[in-house]
């Protein structure tokens, strides 16, 4: 067995185990740490597929940025030691049935379909090519989505600040509404 097969098995086992733990763990901080493990193993898969740039982006942006953001908001909004009450049995059983049915259907479809690869030579993905494609207006250029995504990110950051900042003093601390 080649080394990349061993690495694939290792990464996929980690992804499956930790994603199941992410959605079933009853301690919220642990769920966030399991999510971190899933994201790091996903970046390992990207390395395996030879997309080094995207693996680095995944490590810095997802594992470094989003998970830290999630952990911060967990610390702001809940007690670390607090445990969720177990799910309603009916809800989780029906969700599990729906999910397993969907997964089985998708896997059967995947195994049925015969994927045909092209015979063209693989392109070497280096940083220069990525940068040129991102800023090119030619046929293979991505300058329009790049600009759109930058405007979207700016708008999202401004919106996040506006939504999360404290409003005026009369509205800042409202009584618990669900106690009526």
């Amino acid at each position: 067995m080649a080394s990349n097969q061993i690495m694939f098995i290792l990464f996929s086992a980690m992804i499956i185990v930790f994603s199941v733990l992410t959605v079933t763990s009853r301690k919220i901080l642990r769920a966030a740490v399991y999510l971190l493990f899933v994201l790091v193993s996903t970046s390992g898969l990207y390395f395996l597929l030879n997309y080094q740039f995207l693996a680095a982006v995944q490590l810095t942006l997802y594992a470094g940025g989003i998970v830290v953001l999630i952990i911060f908001s967990i610390l702001l909004t809940s007690h670390i030691s607090q445990k969720f009450e177990p799910y309603e049995l009916k809800k989780s059983v029906f969700s599990a049935i729906a999910v397993v049915a969907g997964a089985v259907l998708s896997i059967i479809t995947i195994l049925d379909y015969s994927f045909s690869a092209t015979s063209e030579a693989a392109k070497e993905v280096d940083m220069r090519l990525i940068g040129k494609s991102l800023l090119s207006v030619e046929y293979d250029g991505y300058v329009l989505p790049f600009e759109v995504i930058s405007v979207l990110l700016l708008a999202a950051m401004v919106a996040a600040i506006v939504v999360a900042k404290k409003s005026g003093p009369e509205k800042s601390i409202s009584p618990k509404l669900n106690q009526e």
Partner: protein, 105 residues
Amino acid sequence: MSTGIPVQYFLILATIMFFTGVYGFLTRRNLITILMSVELILNSVNINFLAFNRYLYPHKLEGMFFSLFVIAVAAAEAAVAIAIIINIYRRFSTINVEDASEMKY
């Protein structure tokens, strides 16, 4: 580099990850854990894009750039979602989806 691993394995792995995320989305009641399930779903889609790009169209880069943009959108989505969650917590003192049932006042 990716020889010896059929493309179907990547797709099956992404399918399992996707439906795990869907399960968490359906059963969780805490807003932050729902957000984590959405991140799982987005990640599985990224794996699909990259596997298709590497195996079926290795002379192009469309899948790589699409997953790059998906990552950027996911970052924006997480920032806005966490701002909304903090605002909800300030109003209702909880981030349980069943307790926050009113949209205004």
